[in-house]
Amino acid sequence: MALWFLRGLRRGVVTTGYPARSDDSAARLPTPPAFRPAALDRSTADRLVAVCPSLALRREADVLVFDVGACTACGRCQDAVPGAAAPSGEFELAATSRAHLVKRIPLLREAGT
């Protein structure tokens, strides 16, 4: 019987908190990409949008709209435009509002460079 169970009985606390230390396995999870605004212009953004199989990306003028909720972390955007996207490493992604999951990423690369 775990010690915390006896401690809990004595203190009247029936549950434990969220894992006190981080879980090593989290580093190996597939995670949604983080994009590099400096590597993105309209044409590269359009390539990313075209390659996304789960409709998580769309382009609005000079902004790449990334819907984290729709992302399946497949990694195709990382292959399509090398250097534009890398795994973000974020896995604690629960949101209390759908709008919190929609990220707007500016396209900062100058055209023709």
């Binding site: 549950t15 969220y18 983080a34 994009f35 984290v68 909720g69 992604l93 629960a94 759908r98 919190h100």
Partner: protein, 191 residues
């Protein structure tokens, strides 16, 4: 910069100053609302029963949800339990893109749950990512049920699900709202 400093310090001083008398007395409905939300948090904070609802998912989400009960994650120690009956459930965990054939069953399950109840949309399909609305699917759980917490992932890992459940019962703050998902510029300059 010199202009900005006094403004900043005056803002920082404000929390230390006791609020005016009119502001310290909330209206009766505000106090009642706060009492109610505290009671709900206290009830849900002790023990919470989860009913899962598969609305056409590929079962990857179900695999991860089942893993929550494994010794490594052990959601029982956090006060969460799975229940087969919606009448015993506080939280509805919905996976899949909401196939239209499931409309009646989904509504009946939701209505059978006693209040207060929480709906958690789980996985990219449920959040409206993978499937567009068509003749067979609604494409998102939000089309049918009012969703309280959204858990992305394809499938969401058990760690993600645990965090989502704790966010749903207000035991953990949401994190993703503050993330930009744009890589840091200074890192990029260093490379």
């Amino acid at each position: 910069m010199t202009d900005g400093d006094p403004a900043l310090s005056s803002q920082q001083d404000q929390p230390g100053v006791p609020p005016p008398a009119s502001g310290s007395e909330p209206g009766p409905e505000l106090a009642a609302g706060r009492q109610l939300s505290e009671r709900i948090a206290r009830q849900f904070g002790r023990s919470l029963h989860i009913r899962t609802l598969d609305t056409g998912s590929c079962a990857a989400c179900e695999q991860e949800i089942r893993l929550l009960a494994a010794p490594h994650y052990d959601l029982n120690r956090l006060g969460f339990f799975f229940t087969p009956a919606p009448r015993h459930a506080d939280l509805l965990m919905v996976t899949g893109p909401m196939v239209r054939a499931f409309d009646v069953a989904a509504r009946k399950t939701y209505e059978a749950m006693p209040g207060p109840k929480i709906v958690v949309a789980t996985g990219a399909c449920a959040l409206g990512g993978v499937y567009q609305p068509d003749a067979f699917v609604h494409g998102s759980v939000a089309e049918i049920l009012s969703v309280d917490v959204w858990i992305p992932g394809c499938p969401p890992s058990p760690l993600t699900l645990l965090q989502g459940l704790l966010v749903a019962v207000d035991r953990l703050a949401e994190k993703v709202g503050g993330l930009s998902f744009a890589a840091d510029e200074t890192q990029e300059a260093a490379q």
